[in-house]
């Protein structure tokens, strides 16, 4: 993957940042530009959370107790499991076991769909309790963060379907799998963001 066009076209960085000096880039450089942009976006959300919590500590102490914690925990486990399936899919393609790799990718999509269904159910449950974006400062931050994350899981699940299609057409092998690996690191990034969102919104008082 070292010589793939995606990794050699951006010669704008110092030599010390190159793969030869700093180590292999999983996936490709463009996906990492995307990932670092997404991390910045979520970083702004987290900063907004902490600023709002500073000004409204009572609202943020009460907010998590009004949410359905069981659904939050279930979604965390579902996303962690999906990351595991993605890592297994990568391990399988590296030994040219395309069937196994495809099976793990389907399991990852399945987990993504379960997450989306649970999240829709949670939004519906919130609605039944009378919670909306205007209920309090906590719920404004909650909906901004969780709906944004929801969209990321949605389009990344579609991306997995595309990778499955490419895998079936023989596009990936043990020697050439940087496209699939790019999706894998993106999916793990989405999981990482939920690892931070979950305690902020569901656990901390």
């Amino acid at each position: 993957m070292k010589d793939s066009p995606a990794n050699t076209s951006l010669n704008i960085f110092p030599k010390s940042w190159s793969e030869a000096h700093a180590g292999r880039v999983p996936g490709n450089i463009p996906i990492w530009v995307g990932i670092l942009s997404e991390l910045t976006e979520f970083g702004i959300f987290f900063a907004a959370y902490f600023i709002a919590k500073f000004y409204y500590p009572a609202v943020f102490a009460e907010g998590p107790q009004q949410l359905n914690t069981a659904l939050g925990v279930t979604n965390t486990i579902v996303l962690l499991t999906s990351s595991y399936f993605m890592a297994k899919a990568m391990a399988s393609i590296r030994i040219d076991d395309r069937k196994k790799s495809e099976r793990f990718l389907w399991l990852a999509v399945f987990c993504g769909c379960i997450y989306l269904v649970i999240k829709v159910w949670e939004f519906h449950w919130n609605d039944l309790q009378g919670f909306s974006t205007n209920t309090s400062e906590f719920f404004t931050v909650y909906y901004y963060m969780t709906f944004n994350h929801f969209l990321h899981v949605g389009w990344a699940s579609c991306a997995i379907l595309y990778v499955i299609f490419r895998l079936r057409s023989g596009a990936y092998s043990s020697k050439d799998n940087s496209g699939m690996e790019a999706l894998a690191v993106y999916w793990h990034m989405i999981d990482l963001m939920w690892i931070l969102i979950f305690p902020l919104l569901y656990v901390l008082r």
Partner: protein, 84 residues
Amino acid sequence: MKNFGKLEILLCLLIIVTLFNTFLGERFSSITLASIIIAATVTYKGFVVIDNFMELKEGNKNLRFLMRLYFIIFPSMIVVSAFY
């Protein structure tokens, strides 16, 4: 059990830590101490995913540094926010 390898053990650990976090948040009386422990476990979970699932442990050291830094900065803010 022959297929029960490192990734499976890490997944189990991550799930256990998640459940432990939830239990702490729901039952622990000291909010400050619970926040500190939760922040530490969030950092641990982040490092596990970055090193083992994203495979940055043997990967690019600059990317690994940036990713790990992210999971030091925001959990640190959890600790700070416990003292508001």
